[in-house]
């Protein structure tokens, strides 16, 4: 059997870079000006808070202080990097929560997309049912799993006990290790349909000729998957994952509603930590410093995403 790897899909297919630049030069400026209202609105609702947060990060601003905030230079950042173990824990938990969630949701989404690829007739409703978690508001997901993971009366422990897998209830939300696993499971349930959608759409775009050619070459199911389909899914996987990394990095309601970042700091991610510092302890200056670091990390991922979108607009 001589099934050649399918050529990497040339999804860009657009004009070359010099051609795009030439077209850009020919643009009518009036159309650029039409973006002005949107730019003004964005500057107000996004730009100003960012500038203000950066400004606050160099102060000792505290909501409980009756006096005006004073400049402390880089002190907040120095404390953050040298004398705040919770910040590093939060950073680690953010990475674990984000990357484990995205990897698990992508793999399950891929498996479901492949499993439902050839469903026909009434069976297609299965795919619709699998997409329903995507339509459930995150706050509802949080409370749903909060009750499911209760150690007493929670359906998860009941199921595990009846299956004989456990004999004593697991304190899902009451122990650090299990609490992180519980919030990740809830998040994976909520975000898997996104990957199912992405991969289903990408699978539908695999050209029939390529599939036919592979069949003529007697490609087996495994070869069809690894050499034909997966290369076509690469772009969807990369873009979808980046998008979900950004979303999960910001995921506040799910974690906060399920665990409030605890017990101890076991599920405290950067966004939860910023909230706790700003609105529980009222250290607005220090919270802004954490927020700035969080923003920089997010910008890296957002930049990667935009770059990929530019090089692979399809």
């Amino acid at each position: 059997m001589a099934v050649a790897s399918a050529p990497a899909p040339t999804v860009s297919g657009g004009p070359s870079l010099p051609a795009r630049r030439a077209r850009s030069r020919r643009r009518t400026p009036v159309f650029d000006w039409m973006a002005l209202p949107a730019v003004i609105v964005l500057a107000g609702v996004i730009g100003y808070p960012i500038v203000r947060a950066v400004q606050l990060s160099f102060t000792n601003s505290n909501l409980l202080s009756a006096g005006a905030a004073k400049s402390v230079g880089l002190q907040n950042y120095k404390t953050l990097f040298t004398n705040d173990p919770v910040f590093w824990q939060a950073l680690e938990h953010t990475a674990v929560y984000t990357f484990v969630s995205v990897a698990a949701a992508a793999l399950i989404g891929l498996a479901l997309a492949l499993a439902t690829e050839n469903l026909g007739g009434a069976w297609r409703i299965l795919r619709t049912l699998m997409l329903t978690p995507w339509g459930v508001p995150v706050i509802v997901v949080a409370f749903l799993f909060y009750y499911m993971f209760q150690d007493r009366g929670g359906v998860v422990n009941q199921a595990l006990t009846s299956l004989g897998i456990i004999h004593t209830p697991i304190l899902w939300l009451g122990t650090g290790k299990w609490a992180m696993i519980a919030v990740i499971i809830a998040n994976v349930w909520s975000t898997t349909p996104f990957f199912l959608l992405m991969f289903t759409a990408a699978l539908a775009s695999v050209p029939n000729e390529v599939i036919e050619a592979a069949r003529v070459d007697r490609a087996g199911p495994m070869a069809m998957l690894t050499r034909i389909k997966l290369p076509y899914l690469r772009n969807a996987a990369v873009l979808g994952s980046l998008l979900m990394v950004i979303q999960n990095f910001n995921n506040f309601p799910l974690i906060y509603s399920m665990t409030k970042g605890g017990p101890v700091y076991s599920t405290t991610t950067l966004v939860i930590y910023v909230y706790q510092l700003a609105f529980d302890q009222f250290h607005l200056g220090f919270a802004s410093a954490v927020g700035v670091i969080w923003l920089i990390i997010l910008l890296v991922f957002a930049g990667l995403f935009i770059r990929l979108m530019r090089t692979n607009p399809a």
Binding site: P29, I40, L63, D151, R152, P169, G261, P263, F279, Q281
Partner: protein
């Protein structure tokens, strides 16, 4: 060079309207700024005459909770009937969010007039300089009818900044049905921490789906409020002023107790105190540390009569530790006025009526909040209601004398996170109480140094 640059005709076309638009926008911003400036600079002492129509905004969590929302709405309606020139605009917010909501509104120049407050929240708002001193409104006849310890709660740095609305200290609620099922005497609740542990073990053994002990261990000031009596009864006080004092035998005793509660699964760690009330309504909690509100929530869910409730539940003081002394802390609700309030007299009229009128007490404070009014001399209706319930007698005779005030204020705000995370840590891990106390000592030293 600027003068040499070719200007595209389309740019010429749009430049003028853009300038005009920019001018209009700048003018709009200026007008807005002036407007807000004039608003914020209005004299804080100005008070509209009592006959002029006034609107008082009332930020509160009573209106955000199912059990109390209809009651507080009825109170507001009644007040507006009695005082037709004063309109009360209720702004519901959850208890968890009320403090930062009020602070953020204050900092952004749009504060409410009257706010329902509790415990350390009041001290935080006072530290922020947001509160109106009430000494000039609280006449001697008003003061003479308030329970002195309740009046003292609102006295911060020598100024009366909050008035008491409801009196509600923590007590130990015990479920007689659960105790009977576990083979315990339902009329003999635990009086010591050791008895509490052994009773909890019996509950867990006989009724695995019942939470033996409901106690708030969340990382918030309310969590520390609820744990403070347990620390005190074991002889612990983790800090005094800005001095950390956590590495003591008393604190180790207390942490050992909490470790047994956590490791044996007697409670749900990191659960809000209020979240025990729903299972409690269905006999799902055997012993619960709570204020009088438990009764209101249970009754609103089960639709039982008070007599039926009293058959199921009993109330006593919080069990004692090594010192042999029982303690409790207040969860009393207070009313505060922001100093930016435009019509202070109208706001005060509402605050006073809601907290002291016989109508409000006999139709809301006692039957809906299930709390004790802060008055020395009660009206006839209120008195009749209070004497009809066995729980009020327990509160007044047994629990109120055990009430102590936690050291609320900026140090408390700085200290609660290290203390509560240490408690959670000993409850969920194998860390020894003595090393946890040592670690807490250094965490507190650093936290209190910055407070």
């Amino acid at each position: 060079m600027r003068g040499d640059r070719q200007v595209h005709p389309a740019r010429k076309f749009v430049r003028r309207p853009l300038r005009v638009a920019a001018g209009v926008a700048a003018l709009g911003l200026a007008v807005t700024a002036c407007g807000s400036s004039s608003h914020s600079s209005s004299s804080p002492t100005s008070a509209a005459s009592s006959s002029a129509p006034a609107t008082v905004t009332f930020l509160n969590w009573a209106d955000a909770e199912t059990a109390t929302s209809p009651g507080i709405t009825a109170m507001i309606n009644k007040f507006e009937q009695l005082y037709p020139n004063i309109h009360i605009k209720a702004e519901p917010v959850s208890y968890t969010d009320v403090e930062h909501q009020a602070l953020l509104q204050y900092r952004s120049g749009n504060p409410p007039d009257v706010v329902e407050m509790q415990g350390n929240y009041t001290f935080d708002l006072a530290a922020a300089g947001a509160l109106q001193p009430l000494g000039s409104f609280a006449t001697s006849s008003y003061k003479s009818n308030i329970i002195p310890s309740e009046l003292k709660l609102g006295d911060i740095n020598g100024q009366l900044l909050a008035i008491p609305w409801t009196v509600a200290p923590f007590g130990l609620w015990y479920n007689k049905v659960d105790m009977s099922k576990a083979g315990l005497n339902p009329n003999d609740p635990p009086h010591t921490l050791n008895q509490l542990l052994s009773d909890a073990a019996a509950i867990k053994a006989h009724e695995p789906n019942v939470i033996p002990f409901g106690t708030d261990t969340t990382n918030r000031t309310y969590g520390l409020d609820q744990n403070w009596p347990f620390m005190k009864t074991d002889g612990a006080q983790p800090f005094t002023g800005t001095t950390a004092n956590a590495d003591t035998p008393g604190m180790i005793n207390y942490l050992t107790f909490m470790q047994q509660v956590g490791k044996n699964g007697y409670t749900v760690v990191n659960q809000l105190g209020g979240k025990f009330r729903d299972p409690a309504a269905h006999n799902g909690v055997a012993f619960d540390i709570d204020g009088p509100y438990l009764e209101g929530v249970v009754l609103s869910e089960t639709h039982e009569t008070e007599a039926q409730f009293a058959q199921t539940w009993g109330l006593t003081t919080i069990p004692v530790g090594t010192t042999g002394k029982a303690y409790s802390t207040p969860t009393d609700h207070q009313l505060v006025m922001f100093k930016t309030t435009k019509d202070k007299q109208a706001a005060w009229t509402f605050m006073k009526w809601l907290s002291t009128s016989d109508y409000a007490i006999s139709n809301y404070t006692v039957p809906i909040e299930q709390s004790i009014p802060p008055l020395v001399n009660l009206g006839s209706q209120s008195k009749a209601l209070l004497t009809s319930s066995p729980f009020y007698k327990t509160y007044i005779d047994d629990i109120l004398p055990t009430v102590i005030l936690p050291p609320w204020g900026p140090s408390y705000t700085a200290a609660y996170t290290p203390i509560m995370t240490t408690i959670q840590s000993v409850m969920t891990s194998g860390v020894s109480p003595s090393s946890a106390a040592k670690s807490l000592q250094s965490q507190l030293q650093s936290a209190l140094a910055g407070s």
